[in-house]
Protein backbone atom coordinates (compact mmCIF):
# COMPACT_ATOMS: atom_id res chain seq x y z
CA UNK A 1 0.00 0.00 0.00
CA UNK A 2 1.45 3.34 -1.06
CA UNK A 3 0.06 6.46 0.56
CA UNK A 4 1.05 9.89 -0.74
CA UNK A 5 0.77 12.90 1.55
CA UNK A 6 0.36 16.19 -0.26
CA UNK A 7 -0.70 19.81 0.12
CA UNK A 8 -0.97 22.88 -2.04
CA UNK A 9 1.60 24.86 -0.06
CA UNK A 10 4.51 24.28 2.28
CA UNK A 11 4.10 24.27 6.05
CA UNK A 12 0.64 22.69 6.26
CA UNK A 13 1.90 19.53 7.95
CA UNK A 14 2.81 16.98 5.24
CA UNK A 15 5.95 15.93 7.06
CA UNK A 16 4.23 15.96 10.47
CA UNK A 17 1.49 13.67 9.14
CA UNK A 18 3.66 11.31 7.09
CA UNK A 19 6.42 10.93 9.70
CA UNK A 20 3.97 10.25 12.53
CA UNK A 21 1.76 7.88 10.52
CA UNK A 22 4.88 5.96 9.44
CA UNK A 23 5.93 5.67 13.11
CA UNK A 24 2.46 4.64 14.24
CA UNK A 25 2.54 1.64 11.88
CA UNK A 26 4.07 -1.68 12.95
CA UNK A 27 6.63 -1.37 10.19
CA UNK A 28 6.73 1.00 7.25
CA UNK A 29 8.74 2.82 4.62
CA UNK A 30 8.96 6.61 4.61
CA UNK A 31 10.12 8.35 1.41
CA UNK A 32 10.94 12.06 1.57
CA UNK A 33 10.30 13.26 -1.97
CA UNK A 34 10.57 16.96 -1.13
CA UNK A 35 14.04 16.74 -2.63
CA UNK A 36 14.67 20.49 -2.73
CA UNK A 37 14.41 20.71 1.04
CA UNK A 38 13.97 17.27 2.61
CA UNK A 39 13.35 17.48 6.36
CA UNK A 40 11.85 14.12 7.39
CA UNK A 41 15.36 12.85 8.23
CA UNK A 42 15.70 15.59 10.87
CA UNK A 43 12.94 13.81 12.83
CA UNK A 44 13.92 10.22 12.07
CA UNK A 45 17.68 10.67 12.51
CA UNK A 46 18.21 7.43 10.58
CA UNK A 47 21.26 5.21 11.07
CA UNK A 48 23.08 2.69 8.81
CA UNK A 49 22.80 5.15 5.95
CA UNK A 50 23.47 3.91 2.46
CA UNK A 51 24.17 6.71 0.05
CA UNK A 52 23.58 6.51 -3.68
CA UNK A 53 24.35 9.10 -6.31
CA UNK A 54 21.60 9.81 -8.82
CA UNK A 55 22.72 10.34 -12.38
CA UNK A 56 20.97 11.33 -15.56
CA UNK A 57 22.15 10.79 -19.11
CA UNK A 58 23.10 13.85 -21.14
CA UNK A 59 24.01 13.81 -24.85
CA UNK A 60 27.32 15.06 -26.21
CA UNK A 61 28.33 15.51 -29.82
CA UNK A 62 31.38 14.36 -31.74
CA UNK A 63 31.83 17.48 -33.85
CA UNK A 64 33.99 15.56 -36.34
CA UNK A 65 30.99 13.36 -37.21
CA UNK A 66 28.24 16.01 -36.91
CA UNK A 67 27.17 17.31 -40.32
CA UNK A 68 24.87 20.01 -38.91
CA UNK A 69 21.71 18.37 -40.28
CA UNK A 70 19.80 19.50 -37.16
CA UNK A 71 17.53 16.49 -36.93
CA UNK A 72 18.33 16.34 -33.22
CA UNK A 73 17.66 20.08 -32.80
CA UNK A 74 14.24 19.74 -34.47
CA UNK A 75 13.46 16.59 -32.50
CA UNK A 76 14.13 18.02 -29.03
CA UNK A 77 10.79 19.09 -27.51
CA UNK A 78 12.61 20.89 -24.70
CA UNK A 79 14.87 22.94 -27.01
CA UNK A 80 17.97 21.66 -25.23
CA UNK A 81 19.98 21.58 -28.47
CA UNK A 82 21.08 24.28 -30.90
CA UNK A 83 23.39 24.31 -33.90
CA UNK A 84 25.34 27.54 -34.32
CA UNK A 85 28.77 28.54 -35.58
CA UNK A 86 29.35 25.03 -36.96
CA UNK A 87 28.91 23.36 -33.56
CA UNK A 88 26.17 21.51 -31.76
CA UNK A 89 25.42 23.04 -28.36
CA UNK A 90 23.85 20.99 -25.58
CA UNK A 91 22.08 22.81 -22.74
CA UNK A 92 22.48 20.25 -19.99
CA UNK A 93 20.10 21.90 -17.52
CA UNK A 94 17.28 21.91 -20.05
CA UNK A 95 17.78 18.31 -21.27
CA UNK A 96 15.19 15.84 -19.89
CA UNK A 97 17.40 12.81 -20.67
CA UNK A 98 14.92 11.23 -23.09
CA UNK A 99 17.73 9.96 -25.34
CA UNK A 100 15.74 10.80 -28.48
CA UNK A 101 18.47 12.94 -30.06
CA UNK A 102 20.90 10.00 -29.96
CA UNK A 103 18.33 7.82 -31.74
CA UNK A 104 17.50 10.31 -34.50
CA UNK A 105 21.09 11.28 -35.36
CA UNK A 106 21.78 9.76 -38.81
CA UNK A 107 25.56 10.15 -38.41
CA UNK A 108 25.89 8.51 -34.99
CA UNK A 109 27.53 11.74 -33.87
CA UNK A 110 25.75 11.79 -30.50
CA UNK A 111 26.51 9.68 -27.46
CA UNK A 112 25.48 9.95 -23.81
CA UNK A 113 27.44 10.73 -20.68
CA UNK A 114 26.33 10.70 -17.07
CA UNK A 115 25.70 13.75 -14.93
CA UNK A 116 25.09 13.66 -11.17
CA UNK A 117 21.96 15.59 -10.10
CA UNK A 118 21.70 14.54 -6.45
CA UNK A 119 21.69 11.58 -4.10
CA UNK A 120 19.50 9.36 -1.96
CA UNK A 121 19.98 8.16 1.59
CA UNK A 122 18.44 4.93 2.81
CA UNK A 123 18.59 4.35 6.56
CA UNK A 124 16.82 2.83 9.56
CA UNK A 125 14.90 4.52 12.33
CA UNK A 126 13.25 1.92 14.57
CA UNK A 127 10.26 0.44 12.76
CA UNK A 128 10.69 2.76 9.76
CA UNK A 129 12.96 2.47 6.73
CA UNK A 130 13.74 6.05 5.79
CA UNK A 131 14.51 7.20 2.24
CA UNK A 132 15.61 10.77 1.66
CA UNK A 133 16.21 12.42 -1.69
CA UNK A 134 18.60 15.36 -2.02
CA UNK A 135 18.64 17.44 -5.19
CA UNK A 136 21.88 19.32 -5.86
CA UNK A 137 21.54 23.09 -5.60
CA UNK A 138 20.81 24.71 -8.95
CA UNK A 139 19.44 21.56 -10.58
CA UNK A 140 16.15 22.24 -12.34
CA UNK A 141 14.38 18.90 -11.77
CA UNK A 142 14.23 16.43 -8.89
CA UNK A 143 12.13 13.94 -10.84
CA UNK A 144 15.01 11.47 -11.53
CA UNK A 145 15.61 11.20 -7.76
CA UNK A 146 11.93 10.64 -6.98
CA UNK A 147 11.59 8.05 -9.76
CA UNK A 148 14.53 6.17 -8.31
CA UNK A 149 13.20 6.12 -4.73
CA UNK A 150 9.61 5.25 -5.63
CA UNK A 151 10.71 2.77 -8.31
CA UNK A 152 12.93 0.93 -5.84
CA UNK A 153 9.90 0.35 -3.60
CA UNK A 154 7.34 -0.29 -6.32
CA UNK A 155 7.66 -4.06 -6.17
CA UNK A 156 7.03 -4.21 -2.44
CA UNK A 157 3.24 -4.16 -2.64
CA UNK A 158 2.88 -5.80 0.76
CA UNK A 159 4.66 -3.12 2.77
CA UNK A 160 3.17 0.16 3.86
CA UNK A 161 4.85 3.18 2.26
CA UNK A 162 4.34 6.85 3.05
CA UNK A 163 5.40 9.33 0.39
CA UNK A 164 6.08 12.83 1.75
CA UNK A 165 5.47 14.95 -1.37
CA UNK A 166 6.86 18.34 -2.35
CA UNK A 167 4.30 21.15 -1.96
CA UNK A 168 2.08 22.24 -4.83
CA UNK A 169 0.53 20.43 -7.77
CA UNK A 170 3.26 20.60 -10.43
CA UNK A 171 4.87 17.79 -12.50
CA UNK A 172 7.04 16.70 -9.59
CA UNK A 173 3.96 16.04 -7.41
CA UNK A 174 2.31 14.11 -10.25
CA UNK A 175 5.38 11.86 -10.32
CA UNK A 176 4.82 11.23 -6.60
CA UNK A 177 1.16 10.31 -6.76
CA UNK A 178 0.88 8.44 -10.05
CA UNK A 179 1.67 5.07 -8.45
CA UNK A 180 0.04 5.85 -5.09
CA UNK A 181 -2.91 3.79 -3.87
CA UNK A 182 -4.29 6.57 -1.72
CA UNK A 183 -3.69 10.31 -1.29
CA UNK A 184 -3.89 12.24 1.98
CA UNK A 185 -4.47 15.97 1.49
CA UNK A 186 -3.31 18.05 4.46
CA UNK A 187 -5.13 21.37 4.87
CA UNK A 188 -4.94 24.45 7.07
CA UNK A 189 -8.00 26.20 8.52
CA UNK A 190 -7.68 29.43 6.53
CA UNK A 191 -9.04 30.83 3.25
CA UNK A 192 -5.54 30.55 1.81
CA UNK A 193 -5.56 26.95 3.03
CA UNK A 194 -8.75 26.30 1.06
CA UNK A 195 -7.21 27.72 -2.09
CA UNK A 196 -4.23 25.37 -1.72
CA UNK A 197 -6.47 22.43 -0.85
CA UNK A 198 -8.46 23.03 -4.06
CA UNK A 199 -5.27 22.79 -6.12
CA UNK A 200 -4.32 19.35 -4.83
CA UNK A 201 -7.95 18.20 -4.75
CA UNK A 202 -8.23 18.95 -8.47
CA UNK A 203 -4.99 17.05 -9.06
CA UNK A 204 -6.06 13.86 -7.25
CA UNK A 205 -9.42 13.97 -9.04
CA UNK A 206 -7.62 14.32 -12.37
CA UNK A 207 -5.53 11.26 -11.50
CA UNK A 208 -8.65 9.46 -10.24
CA UNK A 209 -6.98 8.62 -6.93
CA UNK A 210 -8.87 7.64 -3.79
CA UNK A 211 -8.29 10.48 -1.33
CA UNK A 212 -9.20 12.02 2.00
CA UNK A 213 -8.35 15.17 3.95
CA UNK A 214 -6.57 15.64 7.26
CA UNK A 215 -7.45 19.01 8.78
CA UNK A 216 -4.37 20.29 10.61
CA UNK A 217 -4.00 23.17 13.08
CA UNK A 218 -7.70 22.95 14.03
CA UNK A 219 -8.98 25.58 16.46
CA UNK A 220 -12.41 26.33 17.90
CA UNK A 221 -13.06 29.02 15.30
CA UNK A 222 -14.61 28.38 11.88
CA UNK A 223 -12.59 26.13 9.56
CA UNK A 224 -12.94 27.16 5.90
CA UNK A 225 -11.17 23.95 4.76
CA UNK A 226 -13.69 21.83 6.65
CA UNK A 227 -16.52 23.79 5.01
CA UNK A 228 -14.97 23.13 1.60
CA UNK A 229 -14.71 19.38 2.33
CA UNK A 230 -18.35 19.23 3.41
CA UNK A 231 -19.51 21.14 0.32
CA UNK A 232 -17.46 18.96 -2.02
CA UNK A 233 -18.24 15.78 -0.07
CA UNK A 234 -14.58 15.03 0.49
CA UNK A 235 -13.91 12.46 3.21
CA UNK A 236 -12.36 14.03 6.31
CA UNK A 237 -10.17 11.28 7.72
CA UNK A 238 -8.86 13.17 10.70
CA UNK A 239 -8.33 16.40 12.62
CA UNK A 240 -5.15 17.51 14.35
CA UNK A 241 -5.50 20.27 16.93
CA UNK A 242 -3.43 23.46 16.95
CA UNK A 243 -1.60 22.37 20.06
CA UNK A 244 1.29 23.83 22.05
CA UNK A 245 2.64 20.41 23.02
CA UNK A 246 2.68 19.16 19.42
CA UNK A 247 4.28 22.40 18.25
CA UNK A 248 7.00 22.10 20.88
CA UNK A 249 7.76 18.46 20.05
CA UNK A 250 7.91 19.29 16.36
CA UNK A 251 10.17 22.32 16.85
CA UNK A 252 12.57 20.13 18.80
CA UNK A 253 12.63 17.67 15.88
CA UNK A 254 10.98 15.02 18.03
CA UNK A 255 8.47 12.56 16.63
CA UNK A 256 5.21 13.05 18.55
CA UNK A 257 4.23 9.37 18.27
CA UNK A 258 7.53 8.32 19.86
CA UNK A 259 7.63 11.03 22.56
CA UNK A 260 4.03 11.35 23.68
CA UNK A 261 1.50 8.66 24.64
CA UNK A 262 -1.29 11.08 23.81
CA UNK A 263 -0.07 11.54 20.25
CA UNK A 264 0.72 7.86 19.87
CA UNK A 265 -2.99 7.22 20.50
CA UNK A 266 -4.11 10.06 18.20
CA UNK A 267 -1.93 9.01 15.25
CA UNK A 268 -2.65 5.29 15.74
CA UNK A 269 -6.34 6.00 15.41
CA UNK A 270 -5.65 8.30 12.45
CA UNK A 271 -3.66 5.49 10.83
CA UNK A 272 -6.60 3.12 11.29
CA UNK A 273 -8.88 5.62 9.55
CA UNK A 274 -6.38 6.04 6.72
CA UNK A 275 -5.99 2.28 6.26
CA UNK A 276 -9.74 1.70 6.29
CA UNK A 277 -10.30 4.46 3.70
CA UNK A 278 -7.36 3.36 1.59
CA UNK A 279 -8.54 -0.29 1.53
CA UNK A 280 -12.05 0.87 0.72
CA UNK A 281 -10.67 3.12 -2.05
CA UNK A 282 -8.66 0.31 -3.58
CA UNK A 283 -11.59 -2.11 -3.36
CA UNK A 284 -13.93 0.16 -5.28
CA UNK A 285 -11.10 0.88 -7.75
CA UNK A 286 -9.64 -2.63 -8.12
CA UNK A 287 -7.24 -1.58 -10.90
CA UNK A 288 -5.28 0.41 -8.34
Amino acid sequence: MKIAVLSGKGGTGKTLVSVNLACAAKSSIYIDCDVEEPNGHLFFKPTNIKEEQIKVKIPFADNALCTGCRQCVDFCKFNALAYAGGQLKVFENICHSCGGCVLVCPENALAEKERIVGMTHKGDSGNVTVYTGFLNTGEPSGIPIIKKMIGENNQKRASLTFIDCPPGSACIVMENIKDADYCILVAEPTLFGVHNLKMVYELVKLFDKPHGVILNKCQDSENPSEKFCVEQRIEIIGRIAYDYELGTLNSNAEIAVRSSEKYKTIFSSLLQNVMREARHGTTINPKR
Binding site: F78, A80, A82, G85, K89, F91, I94
Partner: protein, 121 residues
Protein backbone atom coordinates in the same frame (compact mmCIF):
# COMPACT_ATOMS: atom_id res chain seq x y z
CA UNK B 1 23.80 42.60 -43.90
CA UNK B 2 20.71 41.14 -42.21
CA UNK B 3 19.37 42.66 -38.99
CA UNK B 4 16.96 40.71 -36.77
CA UNK B 5 14.57 42.26 -34.25
CA UNK B 6 11.76 40.73 -32.12
CA UNK B 7 8.50 42.53 -32.97
CA UNK B 8 4.88 42.56 -31.79
CA UNK B 9 3.17 42.77 -35.18
CA UNK B 10 3.78 42.05 -38.83
CA UNK B 11 3.69 45.71 -39.90
CA UNK B 12 6.42 48.22 -40.66
CA UNK B 13 5.16 50.44 -37.81
CA UNK B 14 5.40 47.64 -35.23
CA UNK B 15 7.00 48.17 -31.85
CA UNK B 16 9.91 46.07 -30.55
CA UNK B 17 8.73 43.08 -28.48
CA UNK B 18 9.96 43.15 -24.86
CA UNK B 19 10.70 39.41 -24.97
CA UNK B 20 13.27 37.85 -27.26
CA UNK B 21 12.47 34.16 -26.73
CA UNK B 22 8.70 34.51 -26.75
CA UNK B 23 8.22 37.29 -29.29
CA UNK B 24 5.46 36.39 -31.79
CA UNK B 25 7.54 37.48 -34.83
CA UNK B 26 11.00 38.47 -35.92
CA UNK B 27 11.61 41.27 -38.37
CA UNK B 28 14.55 40.39 -40.61
CA UNK B 29 15.79 43.50 -42.40
CA UNK B 30 18.24 43.23 -45.29
CA UNK B 31 20.30 46.43 -45.52
CA UNK B 32 21.35 45.74 -49.11
CA UNK B 33 17.94 45.09 -50.68
CA UNK B 34 16.11 47.20 -48.02
CA UNK B 35 13.64 44.30 -47.81
CA UNK B 36 11.83 43.56 -44.57
CA UNK B 37 10.75 40.00 -43.91
CA UNK B 38 8.55 38.81 -41.03
CA UNK B 39 9.23 35.38 -39.57
CA UNK B 40 6.94 33.55 -37.15
CA UNK B 41 8.72 32.64 -33.93
CA UNK B 42 7.85 28.99 -33.44
CA UNK B 43 9.55 29.11 -30.01
CA UNK B 44 6.83 31.38 -28.58
CA UNK B 45 4.64 28.41 -27.64
CA UNK B 46 7.49 26.27 -26.24
CA UNK B 47 7.14 24.95 -22.73
CA UNK B 48 10.78 25.67 -22.06
CA UNK B 49 13.98 26.61 -23.84
CA UNK B 50 12.19 29.26 -25.91
CA UNK B 51 15.25 31.51 -26.00
CA UNK B 52 17.40 28.71 -27.44
CA UNK B 53 14.89 27.90 -30.17
CA UNK B 54 14.31 31.57 -31.00
CA UNK B 55 18.08 32.05 -31.24
CA UNK B 56 18.26 29.08 -33.62
CA UNK B 57 15.74 30.85 -35.89
CA UNK B 58 17.90 34.00 -35.96
CA UNK B 59 21.01 31.93 -36.71
CA UNK B 60 19.22 30.01 -39.49
CA UNK B 61 18.06 33.28 -41.08
CA UNK B 62 21.75 34.24 -41.24
CA UNK B 63 21.31 37.47 -39.35
CA UNK B 64 24.55 39.25 -38.44
CA UNK B 65 23.05 41.67 -35.95
CA UNK B 66 20.27 41.29 -33.38
CA UNK B 67 18.47 44.33 -31.94
CA UNK B 68 16.63 43.44 -28.73
CA UNK B 69 15.74 45.08 -25.40
CA UNK B 70 17.02 42.06 -23.48
CA UNK B 71 18.33 38.55 -23.96
CA UNK B 72 18.73 35.49 -21.74
CA UNK B 73 22.02 33.67 -21.20
CA UNK B 74 21.10 30.49 -23.09
CA UNK B 75 19.90 32.45 -26.12
CA UNK B 76 23.01 34.64 -25.96
CA UNK B 77 25.24 31.56 -25.97
CA UNK B 78 23.71 30.34 -29.24
CA UNK B 79 23.73 33.81 -30.80
CA UNK B 80 27.35 34.47 -29.85
CA UNK B 81 28.44 31.05 -31.17
CA UNK B 82 27.14 32.17 -34.55
CA UNK B 83 29.10 35.45 -34.15
CA UNK B 84 25.92 37.52 -34.25
CA UNK B 85 26.35 40.86 -32.43
CA UNK B 86 23.59 41.94 -30.01
CA UNK B 87 22.60 45.61 -29.66
CA UNK B 88 20.18 47.07 -27.13
CA UNK B 89 17.07 48.73 -28.54
CA UNK B 90 15.91 52.14 -27.31
CA UNK B 91 12.63 54.01 -27.62
CA UNK B 92 10.60 53.99 -30.83
CA UNK B 93 9.42 51.44 -33.37
CA UNK B 94 11.43 48.57 -34.83
CA UNK B 95 12.28 50.63 -37.91
CA UNK B 96 13.35 53.58 -35.70
CA UNK B 97 15.73 51.22 -33.95
CA UNK B 98 17.10 49.79 -37.19
CA UNK B 99 17.79 53.34 -38.40
CA UNK B 100 19.34 54.22 -35.05
CA UNK B 101 21.60 51.16 -35.34
CA UNK B 102 22.63 52.09 -38.90
CA UNK B 103 23.46 55.60 -37.65
CA UNK B 104 25.66 54.03 -34.98
CA UNK B 105 23.43 55.21 -32.14
CA UNK B 106 22.76 51.86 -30.42
CA UNK B 107 25.19 50.28 -28.01
CA UNK B 108 25.95 46.59 -27.57
CA UNK B 109 23.79 44.74 -25.05
CA UNK B 110 25.99 43.86 -22.13
CA UNK B 111 23.46 42.74 -19.51
CA UNK B 112 22.58 39.15 -20.25
CA UNK B 113 19.94 37.97 -17.77
CA UNK B 114 19.83 34.47 -16.34
CA UNK B 115 16.37 33.79 -17.71
CA UNK B 116 12.89 34.12 -16.20
CA UNK B 117 11.98 30.42 -16.56
CA UNK B 118 8.33 30.43 -15.52
CA UNK B 119 8.79 33.31 -13.11
CA UNK B 120 7.26 36.07 -15.22
CA UNK B 121 9.09 39.00 -16.76
Amino acid sequence: MKIACPVDEKTMETGVCISFGRTPYFLIYDTETKQADFVDNSAAASQGGAGIKAAQTIVDKKAEVLLTPRCGENAAEVIKAAKIRIFKTGVGSAIDNINAFLDGKLSELDEIHTGFHNHGG
